[in-house]
């Protein structure tokens, strides 16, 4: 990996990102949490809602929904978009091509999604009628872990299944991150969702009971640092795997030319 080339990819891709459509999507994701929180307050019509549902709501909105969608849009098609445009080959024949492109685009996906998530969090915090700083701090910390992990996950899925990367990523998220992550078994510990959900309960001092989250009892409540280490290791492993796939796979085909 060459840091200078990674920086070149990062800057080049960020410049390309300033289009109306992409900025529009950024705004949608950044404003969506505030919209939902406003709608909830409107529906409550002045009544109060306890502290904990607000935390869970923000968790579902920011480190889950916005992080997932933001990284999904940017990280999943890293290879497939280049293949669709037939521009991959120009990058692949460079000494600092494939790996640096992958890492550079990963960082773009990460910063894009993270900025939308954090701006969204700030906007939502303004509207929530509770101690904003504490809730915001917890959600921001979790977001800083969830965005890199989801970006790495979608990056790997995109390199493994470049032809149908978006659909595969959606299907994977539905099956693993939203269904299997709630199964009280070893398999759910392999999901990002399980780790960040557990961190939410630990960091926000929410009471853990079997009805609320049987999985935590199942694991014997390991400390927060263990979940953080696992998430970082998970992210790095997925990134290395994505690099390995890109180096090993043949992405070019005879479609490239006429002959």
């Amino acid at each position: 990996m060459n840091p200078s080339s990674v920086l070149a990819v990062f800057l080049f891709e960020w410049r390309r990102a300033f289009t109306l459509a992409r900025m529009g999507w950024w705004m949608v994701l950044a404003l969506f949490p505030a919209l939902i929180v406003s709608m909830i307050r409107f529906a409550l019509r002045g009544e109060t809602m306890p502290h904990e549902p607000w935390i869970v709501m923000l968790f579902t909105l920011i480190p889950m929904l916005v992080s997932m969608l933001g990284t999904f849009l940017w990280a999943t098609p890293v290879v497939s978009a280049e293949l669709e445009r037939k521009s991959w080959v120009y990058l692949a024949v460079r000494p600092h091509g494939t790996i640096n492109v992958l890492i550079g685009k990963y960082l773009v996906a990460l910063t894009w999604a993270l900025s939308a998530a954090l701006v969204g969090l700030c906007a939502a915090m303004v509207i929530i009628p509770h101690d904003s700083m504490r809730i915001g701090g917890v959600i921001a910390r979790i977001t800083l872990l969830s965005c890199p992990a989801y970006a790495a996950l979608y990056l790997l899925l995109g390199t493994l299944f470049p032809k149908r990367s978006m659909v595969i990523a959606v299907a994977y998220t539905l099956v693993f991150e939203l269904i299997i992550s709630f199964i009280p078994a070893i398999i759910n510990t392999l999901t990002v969702q399980y780790r960040i959900r557990t961190l939410l309960f630990i960091w926000s001092d929410m009471e853990i009971n079997a009805e609320m989250n049987a999985l935590l009892a199942f694991l014997g409540e390991p400390p927060a640092w263990e979940h953080v280490v696992v998430l970082i290791a998970y992210t790095l492993t997925l990134l290395v795997a994505a690099i390995g796939v890109v180096r090993a796979r043949e992405f070019s085909s005879t479609e490239e030319g006429e002959g």
Partner: protein
């Protein structure tokens, strides 16, 4: 420079390159073959984009697959367009130079010089979306030469160029060869390659049919009949004369055209004026495909298909 040892590339059950063995020293070569003959597959093997199913590929003595050191020496211009619409030609070439390992300032100089060489000095800062097809082709060439590689691989570089653009591209490539650099130019049109080099490789169906200069390949075809087409006022009468003198191996008549296949074209050329004078037959047009590389190519394909002994 290039070594292929029994290289075969399969896409599932479809064969892209079929048992190709080849050793080429540094120089300029034209890679000729019809569409779907395996040219792009071969180029993808040489640039390390594909791995051979069987056999071994070496470029400058090294495997090209994920070979960082080798990529410094290679410049590749693929056949597909693959450009980003919303960036300028300069930004794109600059970006690819950065991926070549250059510093930002070195990449700036290299990109600007390359774009000037290909005649894009005035349009380099416009978005690629506004470029004509010929301009896009020039920018593609610029990214391939910007890092001053030793070996340039071009896939159909003349596509989309107007006659002036083709001439300029031809001249540019001749200058490239003149600097002692190597070139592999893939095309399905003979005249494009002829304009740049007389060393070529002929491939069809993923197989190498012949390699060498036009003269060397021609030597292979001494006993191969040449095809001559005559547009005449009385093709049947002329056909009977040619048959009487046993000049032809086969012939066919198509409206006012007489197409003959002969191993003795000189004998035909010698007798024809006298026959025309005697019989009053007129010939409005006569041409032999043998006068260009096209004849060699057609004949080699026929040998390959088993149509000629």
């Amino acid at each position: 420079m290039i070594e292929l040892s029994h290289v075969t590339k399969l896409y599932g059950t479809v064969i892209g390159v079929n048992d190709m063995t080849l050793a080429l020293p540094p120089g300029a070569y034209g890679l000729l073959g019809p569409n779907g003959s395996g040219k792009s597959t071969l180029l993808n093997l040489l640039t390390g984009q594909l791995l051979p199913t069987i056999g071994r590929v070496r470029v400058f003595g090294e495997s090209p697959r994920n070979n960082t050191a080798l990529f410094h020496r290679l410049g590749y211009c693929p056949g597909s367009e693959g450009l980003y619409a919303n960036v300028s030609g300069y930004d794109w070439v600059h970006y690819l130079c950065r991926l070549q390992g250059m510093t930002s300032s070195a990449a700036t100089t290299a990109a600007q010089e390359a774009l000037v060489i290909v005649g894009m000095s005035e349009s380099m800062h416009r978005p690629i979306a506004s470029y004509s097809r010929g301009m896009r082709q020039r920018v593609k060439l610029a990214q391939a030469i910007a890092h001053n590689p030793d070996f340039l691989i071009l896939d159909e570089p003349f596509n989309g160029l107007d006659p002036i653009g083709r001439h300029e591209m031809g001249e540019l490539l001749k200058r490239w060869i003149g600097q002692g650099k190597s070139l592999l130019l893939a095309s399905h049109l003979l005249y494009e390659v002829e304009a740049v080099t007389d060393s070529f490789l002929l491939i069809s169906g993923g197989r190498l049919l012949a390699s060498g200069t036009a003269v060397e390949v021609h030597a292979l075809l001494v006993d191969v009949p040449n095809e001559i087409t005559l547009r005449t006022s009385d093709p049947r009468r002329l056909a009977s004369l040619i048959l009487e003198h046993e000049i032809t191996d086969s012939l066919r008549i198509d409206h006012d055209q007489l197409v003959i296949s002969t191993r003795h074209p000189a004998k035909l050329y010698e007798n024809l004026p006298a026959w025309l004078a005697e019989t009053g037959i007129t010939v409005g047009e006569m041409h032999s495909a043998d006068e260009s590389l096209q004849a060699l190519f057609n004949s080699l394909l026929k040998i390959h298909r088993g149509e000629l002994a």
